[in-house]
Symmetry: C2
Subunit: 133 residues, 2 copies
DNA sequence: CTTATATACGCCCTGCGTAGTCCTATTTGA
DNA sequence: TCAAATAGGACTACGCAGGGCGTATATAAG
C-alpha cells in the first residue's frame, strides 16, 4: 500500500540513465543488463513513456531511446502518471468517478484527504529527473 | 497504486466519528450503519487501532470504543502505520530489509526516492485527526 | 444465573492488480 | 537480405485487498 510499482521504478531508472549519458541514444537491452531489469517488462515501460511523450523512440537497427525534453522538465509525477495510465489518487474518489465509491455520500473524510492528495501531488511534481542524477 | 486501503479510510472515518461525538463511547454497529461500512471489516480495524493504543475498547454490553488520546495528538500517519502493521514505504527497500530488492546494489534511484519518502511521511504526520472534524 | 449485547479473533473465499514470460510483427541501418 | 531494435498482444503465477462466517469471551442488566 502506498508503494510505487516496479514499473515506475524501472522507468525512473531508465530515464535517469539516459540523462546520465547526456541524452545519447540508449537501448532497452543495454539498460536492462546494466540494472538487472527484466527486458520485456522494461520494454513495455519504455513504450508507455514513448506514448506519453517523455522519451522519443528510434526503431530499427541502431535504434533506441532519448529523452523528449530536458531532465529539468521531467518530474517524477509525469513518469508515474504516464506509466500508471490512470489518474493517480490517494483514494478511489480521486482516481475514478467519485460515485464509484459506495459510501461517497456518507464519507466524512474526502475533503481532508483531498488536502493530503494535493500535498502529495506537490511532492511528486517538484522532484525533477535532473535532481536524481 | 499509491492508494490508501479501505481499512485505513474506515479507520479514519471511525476515529473522526468518535471525536465528533466528544469522545462518547461508540459501537462498531452504530458506526458501520451510519457510514455503510461492512461491520466485520470495521470490527477488525477497530481491534487493530485498539492494539495500537489509538483507541480504547470496552468489552461486554454497553461497551464500545473511545479515543485513547486527544484528537490533536492522533495523526493520519499513526492510523496508517497501526492499521497497516508493516512499515509504510514508497518502495520495497523502505518497508522491508533493503536486500530483499534484487536490484538494490544497482539501483540508482533509492536515494532520491528516500527524499520523497521523507516528504511523504511529513505530509501524513502533520495532518491530525482534529483537522478532519 | 441467564440473557442480550459487545468486543476478540481466526479461517476462508473471491476478484483484481502486479510482475513476469513468451511469441510475433514491424521498422530500419548496414 | 540480414540483424538489431522497437511495438505490442496473450498468457501465467502470485500476493493482497476486501469481505463473509463462525465462535469465543466479556459484562451489564434482569
Ligand atoms: S469517498 Fe471517502 S471512502 Fe470513498 S474513496 Fe473517497 S475518501 Fe475513500
Ligand atoms: S532499491 Fe531501488 S528498486 Fe529496489 S526497492 Fe529500493 S528503490 Fe525500488
Amino acid at each position: 500500500m502506498l508503494k510505487l510499482s516496479k514499473k515506475v521504478e524501472y522507468g525512473l531508472i531508465a530515464i535517469r540513465h539516459i540523462a546520465s549519458v547526456n541524452n545519447h541514444i540508449s537501448t532497452v537491452k543495454e539498460i536492462s543488463e546494466k540494472y538487472i531489469i527484466p527486458v520485456d517488462v522494461l520494454a513495455k515501460v519504455m513504450q508507455k513513456l514513448t506514448k506519453g511523450k517523455i522519451i522519443i523512440s528510434y526503431q530499427g537497427a541502431m535504434g533506441g531511446y532519448t529523452l523528449a525534453r530536458k531532465a529539468e522538465e521531467i518530474s517524477v509525477m509525469d513518469v508515474i502518471s504516464v506509466i500508471e495510465g490512470t489518474q493517480v489518487g490517494i483514494a478511489q474518489c480521486f482516481s475514478e468517478v467519485p460515485e464509484n465509491c459506495s459510501i461517497y455520500t456518507n464519507c466524512t473524510i474526502k475533503n481532508p484527504l483531498g488536502k493530503i492528495q494535493h500535498n502529495l501531488e506537490h511532492v511528486f511534481s517538484s522532484m525533477k529527473v535532473s535532481e536524481i542524477i
